[in-house]
């Protein structure tokens, strides 16, 4: 599949330019980042080009914007099912944000819109951040609402299947899913070389949370997936960064614990080591371990005559019990290293190669990024 990105990319740049023109009367600095991502696993290939912009808006404001295309090919619409036919789909996403600094407090808001043939999402969010003790302590509080609409528009066949949104809407052409989220974060400088952070996230989901195409095995039959319509998700994370000055090495450790009302529990420890090579080059390696329990209603097969067990049925691999390992290598180089001049001297070139080992039906995955971030003033 060939991506024709030029018109949409120019459109995104135009939209960012309009946002900039309406909010930035003064001269300022900005960055424009272009990134391409390639993802491949056994049944799915994703190509995602994206643009990210950040611009000063006056002396206390920053405008951000992004646009991306998710091109999914050779994948099954039912995401992981072995028996489904290949399909191709594109998702388009754009977002805008603004943050304003008021002394030690920063207020921010952002909006995001995403659309594809069978899924539409509108997101609105806001956050506040406060600095204490000469910026040694930073506390953050935020929240967001996501209003999504799901249909089976990508289904293959002469007619679009109906969805069972819930007990009162058993045959609808589309179903809503509303997500309400809140988070709190705190970071603290503990020495000239060390900083620690904590965060807590809580979200609640109401609405259709099944895959419109996936089917579970009940007895000898295939039955459309039926997930609960309510879910409460909670996560907390801790991280620490330490800089070893003599070697120019940064060690980053992080741990995240997650649980939800579907009885999924997950532990994610992670270690990153970033090594400077002069002032223009940095290289890093990362290892991430992931393990989770399965959802209380997930089974590989369901007995046909057990009403309690078949109240909810699922064939979703990511609701099963599994573990995974991720290894990553990353290289970042400033234009100065290539003796480039002008604004190109501050441009950052980046390459990432990631390998994910997944002990489930998805199989292992390879992810690669190439990116260029270009600073400018106006």
């Amino acid at each position: 599949m060939r991506l024709q990105l030029t018109p949409v990319s120019l459109g995104a740049l135009g939209a960012l330019g309009v946002a900039l023109g309406t909010t930035a009367p003064a001269r300022g600095d900005g960055t424009l980042a272009m990134r391409g991502v390639y993802y491949k696993e056994r049944a799915t290939r994703v190509m995602q080009p994206m643009l990210d912009g950040m611009f000063d808006a006056g002396t206390h404001g920053i405008v951000t914007g992004h646009f991306l295309v998710d091109a999914i090919t050779s994948a099954s619409a039912s995401s992981g099912a072995d028996d489904s036919a290949a399909f191709t789909e594109r998702r388009y996403e754009g977002g805008l944000g603004y943050s304003h600094e008021l002394g030690a407090i920063t207020l921010a808001g952002d909006a995001k819109y995403s659309t594809e043939s069978d899924y539409e999402s509108i997101y609105l969010g806001g956050r506040a951040q406060a600095e204490f003790g000469q910026k040694n302590t930073v506390l953050g509080l935020g929240g967001g609402i996501s209003l999504d609409t799901i249909s089976a528009a990508a289904a293959q066949g002469p007619s679009m299947p109906t969805l069972r949104c819930d007990a009162t809407h058993p045959a609808a052409t589309s179903c809503p899913l509303n997500v309400y989220a809140m988070y709190a974060s705190a970071s603290q400088i503990i020495s000239r070389n060390a900083v620690i952070g904590l965060s807590v996230d809580i979200s609640t989901l109401h609405g259709f949370q099944s895959n419109p195409y996936r089917q579970a095995i009940v007895g000898e039959a295939l039955v459309p997936e039926r997930h609960p319509t309510d879910r409460t998700r909670e996560a907390f994370a801790a991280s620490a960064r330490y800089y070893i000055a003599p070697t120019g090495t940064t060690v980053i450790g992080a741990y995240r614990y997650y649980r939800d009302s579907w009885k999924v529990h997950a532990h994610t420890p992670e270690l990153r080591i970033v090594q400077e090579a002069g002032s223009d080059i940095d290289a890093s390696v990362r290892y991430r371990y992931y393990t989770q329990d399965g959802a209380f209603f997930f089974h590989n097969r369901y007995p046909p005559d057990d009403v309690a067990m078949t109240q909810y049925v699922s064939d979703d691999v990511k609701l099963s019990d599994f573990t995974g390992h991720t290894l990553e290598a990353k290289l970042g180089v400033l234009g100065d290293a290539f003796e480039l001049g002008g604004r190109w001297a501050g441009a950052r070139f980046e390459g990432i190669l990631e390998y994910a080992i997944q002990h489930n039906r998805f199989g292992n995955a390879v992810i690669a990024h190439v990116a260029l971030t270009l600073p400018f003033d106006y």
């Binding site: 951000t64 000239r192 965060s199 807590v200 800089y243 989770q292 990116a371």
Partner: protein, 80 residues
Amino acid sequence: MVAPAVRYSSWFAVVIMLGIGVIGGSGCVVVRAHQRGHLAKRAMTEDRATGEARFAEHERGSREGADGGTGQPGGGCGCN
């Protein structure tokens, strides 16, 4: 019998209070602006670009049951 919602709330209240207490209690350690050369390094602030972090969040949301917890709900996944 304690309701699940109450158990969740209590557990997280303890975590939040403990975390804020630890961070607030360490506020006596003040590193002044001119002493923060190492802390201003890219790797010590945020070594992942916005696009990189966004893709990672989206990718994990498609593969793992514990997505979320990154400051905002997902949406637009297309792969419930």
